[in-house]
Symmetry: C2
Subunit: 338 residues, 2 copies
């Protein structure tokens, strides 16, 4: 199939530019996906800027792809060319360690993302281990489903992994790309859902997105009234927050769960954990099983991200739109290589 | 029955002295226990010294009592005079809130300890709500069982509450009054047990106490070899520790659980939680159901604290022994009012 056209940053904080590479023969165990749509995630931006010191250039971002299988490597079972699949954050896991064999592939010590050390999905085609190409169920619009593969699984996985019961009171902190999906998933999960946003403008929007109630985190008295209320507080913001207030808003046995890239260590007083039997925790995306369950759950409950679309050739404008905090709520790039 | 003789501190950091009080008529719903033995817990010391700013004087410490029911208040069901019971940290919970009705009485917002605002068990007799007098099962030596009621439940409850499976790898940090019971309980729970102690002298002892292996926390290379190993690290020490090393010693989905009164906020980097799907948590003692299960489990597995005995009249010597870090591993006072 020859060379792959893509969009790549040639160095930190550089705009993406057209980039071609020869992917070579398809290795055994991998599949190749013709990208139709790809979500734009905040971590694409962080990697373009090398904010985490782990980027390798040329960097082809993109890890929320929906596309069609065009090639299947030797030894791959259960997938066939022509199938529509999703590709998310992870592209490789070892498949033979205790963690992988136990179905926790996203926690494998050798897990590798789709866009570090290989080329991501702002491209005509992308390659991943067969495991990480997840068949898209019927009823999920391929043009809109992309952000479920990273943003969606990141906020769905805690509900599943922590066995949150539908009787729980859930708060979602930060109503953006992750947070708006967290509202939808926890609402469909059966929970009582509260949105906590720093943006007064989003209070009303949050109700429309699935929250039963919404409060502005700048309103200290509103936060105080929520003291002792929540079984789960899901932090999707990548900012420093009023951690003591959030710990105080947990019910007995409550859990503060972080999925946003909070920049500084969270100071957790032991007594705040001990007296109410509380937890502070975090999680990355999700296992292969969780991804498939999440897509099926989203299809059944008609959960899709609210997307703004850009042609992939406008990727730099899309990145600036996201960086400026203007995305409402997720951005999807539609492949337009011609 | 008239006045109660006891040992009380009349002010912060004062030695205990003989003290008599009139308990008045026995209120409905309460029971009165003639104290035979009472464990000495580090929190008795902290309260004598008003280290937590919540002590009220005269303070009669003591909250790990074994004794015999001598009176049963109006409305009490299921208990009868003559029964041998244990009394632990809690003496009162409201019994009508959602948390109580759900069997989580130790997390009730109105839960009250046995020795704050009422008189504890370094006394001839002690009173608690009937709920908090737990019948002692056959096969537990009354002279030795006392410390199970606070120290024991504190380290048993996490195994139950967190649903730790017997396949888990458990590390116990701090091998003292709590830690030596944690080794015994987690060993009987079926887990692989590692002791982590700051005292080289305790490395060998820990093996005798139930650990499969023991390491000295001063040995950095030994700690490094344990990287990624533990499903549960139970911190029983009330000291600041090398938190980053401990978080690094957790396996994927591992949990650092604190039951010791760690003096300063634990700095928890979000990435350390997210990438390995880890938790940091804490818990106080346990519910009424957990207390009963713990005693039955201890009886079945022949788990008892290793105690040093002092006559209760030597309580000040016993307190100094504990404060000096010389207790091996728990102190029990035998009532000797004559």
């Amino acid at each position: 199939m020859g060379k792959v056209r893509a969009w790549a940053a040639m160095g930190p904080r550089q705009p993406l530019q057209p980039f071609e590479f020869d992917p070579g023969p398809l290795p055994a165990g991998q599949v190749e996906v013709a990208v139709e749509h790809c979500g734009l995630c905040h971590s694409d931006l962080s990697l373009r800027d090398d904010a985490w010191g782990m980027s390798r250039f040329p960097l082809v971002p993109g890890h929320e792809a929906i596309g069609t299988l065009v090639a299947v490597g030797e030894g791959v079972r259960g997938l066939r060319p022509g199938q529509r699949v999703g590709v998310g954050w992870n592209a490789h896991s070892c498949q033979h360690c205790e963690t992988c064999l136990d179905g926790r592939q996203h926690l494998c010590a050798s897990v590798r993302p789709t866009l570090i050390g290989r080329h991501g999905a702002f491209a005509e085609r992308v390659r991943v281990d067969a495991l990480w190409a997840v068949p898209l169920p019927e009823g999920l619009d391929p043009a809109e489903a992309g952000p479920l593969l990273c943003g969606g699984i990141t906020v769905f996985a805690p509900l599943r992994e922590l066995a949150i019961p539908p009787t729980a009171r859930v708060a979602v902190v930060g109503i953006g790309g992750l947070g708006h999906l967290a509202l939808a998933f926890s609402r469909a999960w059966g929970c009582e859902v509260t949105a906590i946003t720093s943006s007064p403008a989003k209070v009303a929007e949050a109700l429309d997105l699935g929250a039963h109630q919404a409060v502005c985190s700048e309103d200290r008295s509103a936060l105080k009234r929520l003291s002792g209320r929540f079984d789960l507080i899901l932090v999707t913001a990548n900012a420093s927050l009023d951690w003591n207030a959030l710990l105080g808003a947990l019910a007995p046995e409550g859990r503060l769960h972080v999925v946003g890239a909070v920049p500084e260590p969270i100071p957790v007083p032991a007594f705040a954990l001990i007296s109410g039997q509380k937890s502070v925790s975090g999680s990355p995306t999700g296992s292969r099983g969780a991804l498939a369950q999440m897509l099926a759950f989203a299809a059944r409950h008609r959960i899709l991200p609210r997307n703004e679309h850009f042609p992939m050739s406008q990727v730099n404008a899309a990145l600036e739109h996201l960086a400026a905090g203007r995305a409402r709520y997720r951005v999807v790039l539609d492949a337009d290589f011609t």
